[in-house]
Each structure stands twice: as C-alpha cells, then as structure tokens.
Symmetry: C2
Subunit: 321 residues, 2 copies
C-alpha cells in the first residue's frame, strides 16, 4: 500500500438522502441523563421522526476519467465500510475505482451504519439480525465448520486468519429484514440526487440494484452485480433493456447448500432480460481462471484483480476514458 501514489480528491462530501416523516403522539416524556455528571434533559418521545434516510459519501478524484459517478452498494449485515478496506488492511474497491478515475459514491443502506435506524423496529416490525463470529464462515463460503476450527476451502482467497476474520466480523452491523421498501426508496433518492451512474452492488445490494434499475432506468448507466442475492421483478424486465449488466460469481458454489439455487435464479433472470432485448454478461470467476473467491469478493486477496475485470468491462462500454 505504501508503494501507491497519493489519491488527490478534488471534492469530497457526504450527505443523507430520502427518509419520510413519521409523527408520534401520546407517548410519555422521560428524563434522560445522557452523560454521567451532565444535566438531565426531558426527552419527549412525541414529535416528528425522519425514518428511512440514507448516508452517502461522494469522492471525486483529480483527474477524473469516469463519464458518470460509480456507486458502491454493500450487502446485508455490512456498511459501506466494506468497500473502504479489507479484513487484512489492503485498499478496498473504493480506492481502486478512485484510482481508476471514477467519482465514487459509497452508501450505508437504510438502518445500517451512518444511516441510523430511527424508529425502524417500531415502523417496520421485525427484529434485527445480528451475526455471530461463527455464522458467516460457511454461509459466505470460507470453509466447512467454524472459524475456530479454521479450515478453509482449497485455494481460498478470503483472508481468513483469526485476526482478519475477527476484524471482518467487527465490521458487521445489525440489520433488519423488513425495510426493503424504505431502502429501495432511499436508493431512488440517491440516484435522483447524484444523477445517472454506474451501480456496483454486492449480495443484498444486487437485489436493490436490479429493482432500482427497473424503477429508475434513466438513472442507471450500467449494473455490476457481484453475487447478487436476488433478482428484479420478472414483470419489469423490459425496463432493463437499455442497461448493460455484468454479473460476477465466485468459487465454491457447487458444494454450497444455498448458492447453486441463488445463482440459478440469477441466470434465469439474466436470460429473461436478454429475451426482452437487454444485454447481460455473466462471469463465473473460476471459468475465466480466477479461483478461490468467497462470497466477499471485494475483500478477497485478489480483490484488485476482480476489480480490474470490472474496470475493463466498464471501459469496454466507453464509460471511463
């Protein structure tokens, strides 16, 4: 990392978009002492809440070569920080695409990270899902068993040593499963604010990316879906006809209990988009000689190599000089 030249940022800001007002009435006020030795404050739970806003950070490099901004939408249980570094401390895809000359917009999905979760359980129902150290080891296709046992699949690219794994889990955040409508609306507000963009999305973010492209096709110039967790709506495939799509899948899928079905649904949806006149490229990384990728491709040791494949594809579309 120290060998890389500095990144010059011509502009860099963050903002929150979206959110709707929810008025609460009839609740008792309570006295809260926020800090030991502070003065108690009366906190009135009644009033106007802003629910469903979303944090985004926009960085514009100098010089800029991308013709439109490039957005990075994270997956479930994570925040935008997953693009900012890797569990073993290398530069993330946020750096990669800035270095390639893109204005990069990283967001934290609704109810996660810096977006906050104001009244999410009250308004949307559901309980948060929080992850143990053990849970994602098999689910993200690192290896069989548990991180304590430490067995990884042959050729595993995810940095799965104990310190890196612990660091990865520290970066996970609670998430709800009842906020899809709010989240989609906030991504719409983000696209509206930033304007036509390339959307690079991972896992759950891939679901929102498909859906956002169907709802606001004029604001999506290309979709890059890294192991999308789900598809768009079959009845709206026609909306995707003008948007080039790249789908990327990693390794170790055949032996997984869930990913063959998830991938098959993705491939079927891609076929439907093509039948409606769209263009979808599907890259199974092992088929092009890139082996060992977990579900967390942007964190794997070969993350820059896969980002390079994405960059080549985007340049092929003429979206980056």
């Amino acid at each position: 990392m120290t060998d890389l030249p500095p990144i010059a940022l011509a502009r860099w800001t963050s903002f929150h978009v979206g959110g709707r007002e929810v008025v609460v009435q009839g609740q008792p006020a309570r006295e809260v002492t926020f800090t030991p030795g502070g003065a108690p404050a009366l906190i009135d739970a009644n009033g106007t809440y802003l629910v469903g806003g979303m944090y985004a950070q926009a960085m514009e490099p100098a010089p800029k070569r991308g013709t439109v901004p490039l957005m990075l939408w994270h997956g479930g249980g994570l925040s935008g920080a997953c693009w900012e570094t890797t569990p073993d401390g290398r530069e993330g895809w946020q750096h990669f695409f800035l270095r390639a000359g893109w204005e990069v917009v990283v967001s934290d999905a609704v109810e996660r990270g810096r977006s906050g979760w104001m009244r999410i359980p009250e308004e949307t129902g559901g309980v948060p899902v929080t992850l143990t150290l053990e849970n994602p080891w098999e689910r993200f296709r690192i290896g069989p068993g548990t991180p304590q046992e430490g067995r990884v699949f042959d050729g595993q690219q995810f940095p799965a040593d104990p310190a890196s794994w612990r660091h990865f889990i520290l970066g996970c955040v609670p998430r709800f499963t009842t906020t899809d409508d709010l989240t989609l609306a906030a991504y719409g507000a983000l696209l509206e604010r930033v304007g036509p963009s390339v959307v690079v999305a991972h896992s759950q973010g891939g679901f929102f990316a498909w859906r956002a492209a169907q709802e606001w096709p004029g604001n999506v110039r290309a979709l890059v879906l890294v192991e999308p967790a789900s598809t768009g709506l079959m009845e709206k495939v026609a909306a995707l006809a003008g948007i080039p799509v790249l789908m990327i899948y990693g390794d170790f899928i055949a032996g997984d209990p869930r990913w063959p079905a998830i991938r098959a649904r993705g491939i079927a949806f891609a076929a439907a988009v093509r039948a409606a006149g769209g263009h979808v490229d599907v890259v199974d990384l092992p088929a092009v000689g890139i082996r060992g990728n977990s579900h967390m491709i942007m964190m794997d040791r070969n993350s820059d190599r896969v980002a390079g494949l994405v960059q080549d594809w985007l340049q092929g579309l003429g979206l980056c000089a």
Copy 2:
C-alpha cells in the same frame, strides 16, 4: 468549496478496534429469508458475538505537517459523519485539519454508525434514545420553540433553514445511555492502535476524552474539548497534569436551562486540573468576539473560523509545523 485545491491523501484506510467476546447459548435457531427470492438460511442465535467494537477512518494527507495524528470524537446521537460535512454542505473539520496537514482519525462511537450495535441492548440494558426533528432545536441552542416555527437566536450561526435542519436530523442516529464503559474501552483501544494523538472531542465525546486522557495519558498529547458534556474523574486530575487542554464554549449559554450548569462544572474541573499542575485554556467564543455559535460548533457557518482558533492553539504547542 469548488475554489479549494484538491486534498492529496498519501494513505487512507479504516479499521475496527476493541470489542469483547460474548458467548450466547440455549437460544432457538430461526430461518431467515434475507432477500425476497433468496434462499432461506438457518440463523443460529447461539455462538460468539463481538460486542463493543469501534469503527475508525484514518486519512493521512501529503504533505503531512502534524507531528502526531489528530482524532475527532463526535458527540451523542451523532456519528463521525458530523465532521465530514455541515448541514448546508460545506467542508467539515475533517477536511479543515487534513488541509492543515494533520493525519486525521474519525471514529464512530460504540453502538453508533459503522461501529454497529451487536447485542448492545441485551448486554448493557437500556433502550435507545432516538431524536425527533423537534427535540434538539432548543437543546442545541438554535432558538426557542420548534424548527417548524423557525425562530432562531439573534446572530445564530447554525444553518437552521428547513432543508439544512432536516439534513442535520437525518444524520442523527439512535444511541444508548448504557454503553459508557464499552465506549471508553474502545477509545482506549483506538489510542493504543494509533498511538499518541491530539484528541478533538465534541459534547459527549468530551466526557470520553477527559476519561481516556486520565486512563491513558501517555497516548494523549493534547485535548481540545468543544462544549464537553461532562468532566473527568476528580480523583484522577493528577493524570492530566502533562496534557494541555483547550475548552471551547459557544454562545447563548446564559439563557439556556442546562448549559450554565454544564459549563460551570467544566470550569470547576479545569480549575482542579490547574491546581494539580495542569494547563487548561478556556475560550468562551463570544468573549473573543466570535458570536452566534450553537452547541454544534463544527457545523456552524463560522466552523472554519473556530477550527482556525484550534489550529493556532495546537501550533502554539509545537504540534503542527
């Protein structure tokens, strides 16, 4: 903003520090479908959780002039994003101190922002405090009444037009009042990882900054406390003898129901630190001709002017070339 030159970052990363393991047993597993059309996954609530970790983002400018890193610790109900921009879209103190040549470390406190809140309610008790659009208007000394009424104190520097206020509230996040021990421990881990630093802290962050300096004085080169919500421990004032401290208070305090008492306790604590051989400078901004500041000084329209005062003080200590 567009007139400012680019910021060159020689190095920029983020990481999570701290956290302790909590093992949960005897809970039922539940099936979760994370994404519509996804494959259900069995989520076993039993296992090892990492509780109390903290996110931090470290940016090192080129050229660098600060002799040590400068940390920005936010206050209650906010995340580190409060240093990244202002409600009216200007550059934040994160930019100001990077432009001044400091390596700047911005953190999200435990259970807020990108630090996540894994099992916080279960382990620490308490319920989260979430803020309405109305609540902070008076409490942060913007004006009397409500933001809907829109009256501000004469000369108010906070950008309190409806759009900016809404943007400010969107950036607020739920917080607990039962996590002080975890948070202090995580700040200790952050200081340990980054090494001796200047700590600039706002409001609730000021409480943690006093306490962290008392616990780990070797890792704190100077303290800048912007309207600290509370003090350190009186029985440990001696630990602060070698650490220069600057305390800053804004305007409209005399007429506030809470701030005269909070400030008075801060002044009394400063006197005790001085009596123990320490050095504390107190600046009431109106007394030096800087008027109109709310509690959110780093977001006020004159935020760069106050940051300049901080920078001059740090340069006076020889901490920045």
